[in-house]
Amino acid sequence: MTLLWTLPVGTEGRGAGSLGARDVRAQFFTPFDYLEQVARAVEAGGFDGALVPFDAEGDDPWIAATAVARATRRLAVIVEFATTFGTPVYAAKMAATFQRFSHGRLSLKPVLGDQPVPRATVVTPGEDPFDRVHEYLEIGRGLWEGTNYSYDGKIFEVAGSGLIPPLRTYPAPHVYLSGNDPRIQDLSIHLGDVHLWELTEPASLPALVADLARRAEAALRPVRSGLRLAVLARPSEEEAWSELRRRAAGAGIDDPGTLVPAAGVWTGFERLGYGTPGGLVGSYRQIASALDRFRDEGISSFVLEGRPHLEEAYRFAEFVRPSLDLELTALPA
């Protein structure tokens, strides 16, 4: 069971939001100081890794991820980035340097474009975002395999390219892809390493996971299933739901009970500003049991999100994690 925690990239910050308020002690504390503190908390808490999310209204994920890697020793770092940020060759080059200086701790999570922010890119009208991600991953893999790599696709073309051997000191980063769309699942099966499901329809999850596992085995590719979810854990179930109701009310959700597809699951987290809609709500033991059940159904990686990020990381590490039926050796992130 691999446990990863989501990091703040600015729009949530502390209290009012570190992007909105100007800290009067600005010389002494920056949002990046806070980001690094959360990263160290996640590492100290025994998590295997951290997700640096892409937030169109926040700090850039590559810059944030670099700061996180430099502030930690062993934490795996997943960079979620828009495939419209730059060319695949440039992304591979950045990834290579990141691997070199982090001792191979990078994973990548490409997302389709960066809606709703209007783009200023060389994306041609009518371009299929799936094609872009697909070519990104193909070219990335090719560049990592050696020199004199050429590729002529619908969107990108390279000739005589490839990372020089010193830049390939570490293996290519693992690829995380997320989404229930069958085309994304196809990409996962052929070019991904972890497919991240979201907790929107818990009942359908086991079948989806099993289907992916079957197709991955048929394609002879070691693709794993992961789950991205929010978590609101408290000593008792009552406290957890009380806290949820309080936050939901603050976001204008008067009847949070309508967003409960299964016991202990709430699907309105995105409306509270989280990066994923579904999550677990309950006591420490309930949440640990739920995670164990997901693990039994074939989920091996959990990308968790709690807010505020620092305190909830500590809380999870100290109160939920000990109740998990964890093997002592974790799978690679």
């Binding site: 600015g10 600005a26 990046f32 730059g86 695949p88 060759v89 290579a96 340097t97 922010v117």
Partner: protein, 388 residues
């Protein structure tokens, strides 16, 4: 008037001595007995990486009084956008001049990366906008755009970059970029827009530079040629209603005496395989870079000895054989090296990007021995801009 001094960070490896014929610092060349590279001891991974050495060079430059550091970007180097945030967290005042080609990054995302870097570093980002050398090197990056069009793309890129940062909401409909009502979020947009150093020797480059650059950057050339180039850029800038400043990238090989300095240069020259030297003389390059062609033009088409490359007092044109980069650099004692820098300042140079191998020790040497002899006051590294 103040002059800014930058020191180069060797993002593609370094030599412990300019006379060493291979890159022995870092893991960019095959490891030999003289190599200092991560993970060499007893085949066990140690905790060091090449970025730690680059961090040391950055701190050496900062301690020695340099205003900033240049981070070059080529297929054979580590990437500046990944190195710089890490090094920024480990330095206090050093500026980071990141070299990048506009074609490789989306301008809106580049703006976000840049503004985040400003928040992370307290406003220490500087741009070195390059537009590529064309040919096989360009195709390596996946870029097929021809020379003059690359400069059009650069111009559009900078328009959009500035627009989404400082003129929100911004709309633009160009050949290479289209955007409608775009802009950075408020807190990112509030950060300072970096100074732009702009490189390129062709007419297309100079036209683009006139519109956008704060500093027009050139490799060192014989002074008369440099002056002519600066005049061209100044005229172009005037048309655009802007005033240009000028910067020069130059290697320095300075020692306590002229004899020592020239002995090192000659010894380095002699250590190079004669066949490699001959090939270099006739090398075409294969790219479309006008700057590279100009540098090649300053060499003599013969295998004459070392002295023929002394193109002017204390200016030697053999550096590109010792390491990739500009041919002409300064060789001399500390006083004469400083004098050549003073000459350039008199010519109109407002900033320098200096380099020497090994970059760690030479940062100290140049900072301690040469820079204090340079006449105008250097811009003091001001206290950190408060991060937002």
């Amino acid at each position: 008037m103040s002059v800014d001094f930058y020191w180069r960070i060797p993002t593609g490896g370094d030599k412990g001595d300019i006379r060493t014929p291979f890159l022995n610092r870092g893991d960019f060349a095959a490891t030999r007995r003289a190599s200092l590279a991560p993970g060499l001891r007893a085949a066990d991974p140690d905790d060091t990486t090449y970025i730690d050495h680059m961090g040391d060079i950055a701190r050496a430059a900062e301690v020695s009084g340099f205003y900033g550091a240049l981070l070059p970007s080529f297929p054979v180097t580590d990437d500046p956008w990944v190195i710089s945030p890490a090094l920024a967290r480990e330095t206090k005042t050093l500026r980071f001049m990141i070299a990048f080609q506009p074609g490789f990054l989306d301008p809106l995302h580049a703006a976000r990366m840049s503004a985040s870097f400003q928040r992370l570093s307290g406003g220490r980002l500087v741009y070195n906008i390059i537009s590529g050398g064309g040919g096989a090197g360009q195709l390596w990056w996946g870029d097929k755009i021809a020379h003059d069009d690359r400069y059009v793309r650069t111009g559009e890129f900078l328009d959009v970059l500035k627009g989404v940062w400082k003129r929100r909401p911004y709309s633009f409909d160009g050949r290479f970029f289209q955007v409608e009502g775009a802009g950075l979020p408020d807190a990112l947009a509030a950060t300072d827009f970096p100074e732009i150093y702009f490189s390129g020797s062709s007419d297309a480059a100079i036209a683009a530079a006139g519109r956008h650059s704060d500093y027009y950057l050139s490799w060192l050339e014989p002074f008369a040629d440099l002056k002519a180039k600066f005049e061209q850029v100044a005229a172009r800038s005037e048309i655009e209603g802007r005033s240009a400043k000028f910067a020069v990238r130059v290697d320095i090989l300075a020692r306590p005496t002229e004899e020592e300095a020239w002995a090192v240069a000659r010894s380095a020259w002699d250590s190079i395989d004669p066949k490699a030297r001959e090939e270099w003389y006739f090398a075409g390059g294969g790219g479309d870079s006008v700057g590279a062609a100009r540098q090649a033009g300053f060499r003599l088409n013969s295998t004459e000895p070392f002295d023929e490359l002394v193109v002017a007092p204390n200016l030697w044109g053999g550096f590109s054989l010792l390491r990739p980069g500009p041919s002409i650099g300064i060789v001399g004692d500390y006083a004469n090296a400083a004098e050549r820098l003073n000459d350039l300042i008199e010519l109109g140079v407002d900033a320098f990007i200096l380099a020497g191998s090994p970059h760690l020790e030479e940062a100290y040497r140049v900072g301690e021995e040469v820079l204090p002899l340079v006449q105008p006051r250097r811009r003091a590294a001001p206290p950190l801009v408060a991060a937002v």
